[in-house]
Amino acid sequence: MVDLSQYLPILIFLAIALGLSAAFVFLPMGVARLTGAHNPDAEKLSEYECGFPAFEDPRSQFDVRFYLVAILFIIFDLEAAFLFPWAVSLDVTGWPGWITMMVFLGELVIGFAYAWKKGALEWE
């Protein structure tokens, strides 16, 4: 049987994370209510979501170039996600680990060069 008690640190970590994020959400609301002027209107009460209205017909048109930027962002975001564990374990993986990551980065650079040459980064 798995000894669950060895996962206690994770549980504590999650509890602290939950507590902190709850505090970050509700503390500003409370402080604002106590210190500032309180006269809400419809615009102020609506959700803020990246500049888009939060609830609207999903079939509305918007520029496909947003997608291109988003896709490129995800690729390089994930690259960073790979780089962190690679960096801290480099003493274990050694030269093979270093070369492998350089090959990976090289491949991403080729993909980036392709996207750049194709004009994926030009807005106009």
């Binding site: 093979p96 491949e107 080729i110 993909g111 060069a113 392709y114 040459k117 194709k118």
Partner: protein, 487 residues
């Protein structure tokens, strides 16, 4: 671990990745006018890989010498034989594409690059001896395939096919990943060897769920019933050269992968997966045969035919013996020849403006206007139906023989009965071509490359193909034996 030895074993994959990246840069800088040159270069790369892999297949390579990177990758004879079929099908997809896409003014330099990456992914799939390698290969293949399905991007049907394939493919990948994570959780390893050792004896309920989820994901990739619904739509909507590619190479890769997962990783628990494979086999044969009857489009008909054929191939897997695995490989080789021949013939059906003719009604009386083409299409149809003396019969014969020898007489009997139903629609196509009044729609001419490919496939599936059986059977036996080393 000897790095140099590992790199030498993955030489074909290295060659494909490096040349794929170089060709990608060429396609960006030179542009679409280099499409044909890049196609030729990609075909040369595939040819070179073919000859790099061939020696391992002929010598029946197996054992620790074929394992690269600590057993994550295996360049053995089984993987080699599957790779030879994949390279051949990929090469065919390169040859038939330019003429088709140039009619729509849509030939792009990325097409050969995507084919090359898809083939690379499949080549990693069939060599996988670890769940992680399996997944990387599968995704590399799938991502290239999603783009290829939507390659005619101004065409609604092609875009729809791409979207459908992507959404359902992503779902199947998710199911497969879930199964892999369960398997890893209950066996503590991702290597096929380790999973086999961990599952020797009792199998935990969680590992069983892992196996079922993995089989469900793989069944989607080979379009076995009940995960076949996407096949007719994607095959009909995708550009015909891409459909020819989808129906041949990924089928080989995914079936080879299924064989590795079931026979190598879960080889000690064959009772657990056998029922699923038997169900999928019978259901695929019956639904593939019944579904094809009402079709009026040749590409949809061939899609149902591929579902039907996958069912027959799975009968060999249900047997779970070296003879069954060898029969599957023989069937796959014949299936690739039949599929490529069938789709090349469909590509050559063009009206006077050069547009594709896909409706069965439009090829009425083809034997009088285009006797050679009608004859080749007839050979393909009879071979797919498994009518002797054509070579398609031999594939069905070895599969049924393996099933009967393994004690699955009822399964073989159902398969034979259902193949009679299947024969109906194949013969219907032949009847329309030979006995109906000419519709006089097919008028377009095709270049020599199409004729050459059609002639090669027609020769391979003609009775002359039986000359190959001792040689092909020997190669398949040696390749199949690799999977049973651990027993």
């Amino acid at each position: 671990m000897d790095f140099a030895a590992s790199l030498k074993l993955i030489a074909p994959e290295l060659l494909m990745s490096v040349s794929g990246l170089v060709l990608l840069l060429v396609s960006a800088w030179v542009g679409d006018k280099a499409s044909r040159a890049i196609s030729v270069a990609a075909a040369v790369v595939l040819g070179a890989c073919f000859f790099l892999v061939a020696p391992a297949v002929c010598s029946g390579a197996s054992g620790p010498d074929t394992l690269a990177f600590g057993g994550q990758f295996s360049a053995d004879a089984f993987a080699g034989l599957a790779k030879l079929m994949i390279f051949a099908a990929g090469g065919a997809a390169l040859v038939i594409a330019p003429a088709f896409f140039e009619r729509f003014n849509a030939m792009r330099a990325e097409y050969p690059v995507l084919i090359l990456f898809a083939v690379l992914g499949m080549s990693i799939m069939v060599s996988a001896r670890d769940l992680i390698t399996l997944y990387i290969g599968l995704e590399l293949n799938s991502l290239a395939a999603y783009v290829l399905a939507a390659f005619l991007r101004t065409d609604d049907r092609s875009a729809e096919a791409g979207l459908k394939y992507f959404v359902l493919g992503a779902l199947a990948s998710g199911i497969l990943l879930f199964g892999m994570s369960l398997t890893y959780g209950f066996t503590g390893t991702t290597s096929f060897e380790g999973i086999r050792v961990a599952l020797n004896g009792e199998m935990a309920m969680g590992a069983l769920f892992g196996l079922i989820f993995m089989l469900a994901g793989l069944a989607f990739k080979i379009s076995a019933v009940p995960f076949h619904m996407w096949t007719p739509d994607v095959y009909e909507g995708a550009p015909t050269p891409v459909t020819a590619f989808f129906a041949s190479a990924p089928k080989v890769a995914a079936l080879a992968l299924t064989m590795r997962v079931t026979l190598e990783a879960f080889g000690a628990q064959d009772d657990a997966w056998r029922q699923i494979v038997i169900f999928a086999a019978i259901a695929s044969i019956v639904i593939g045969a019944l579904g094809a009857i009402g079709q009026s489009n040749l590409k949809r008909l061939l899609a149902y035919s591929s579902i039907n054929n996958v069912g027959f191939i799975l009968i060999g897997l249900a047997a779970g013996t070296p003879a069954g695995a060898s029969a599957m490989l023989v069937y796959l080789a014949i299936y690739v020849a039949m599929t490529v021949g069938g789709f090349v013939a469909v590509l050559m059906l063009k009206d006077e403006n050069g547009n594709s003719v896909e409706a069965i009604a439009d090829i009425a009386g083809l034997s009088r206007t285009r006797p050679a083409l009608a004859f080749c299409l007839m050979l393909v149809m009879f071979s797919l139906a498994g009518i002797p003396p054509l070579f398609g019969f031999w594939g069905k014969f070895v599969v049924f023989q393996a099933a009967v020898n393994a004690g699955f007489v009822a399964l073989a009997a159902i398969g034979i009965a259902a193949s009679v139903i299947g024969a109906f629609y194949y013969i219907k196509v032949v009847k329309v071509m030979y006995f109906d009044e000419p519709a006089d729609v097919v008028k377009g001419e095709s270049d020599w490359a199409h004729w050459a490919l059609l002639a090669i496939s027609a020769l391979a599936i003609s009775p002359l193909g039986y000359l190959l059986t001792p040689w092909l059977g020997n190669l398949a036996d040696k390749a199949a034996a690799v999977l049973f080393l651990g027993v």
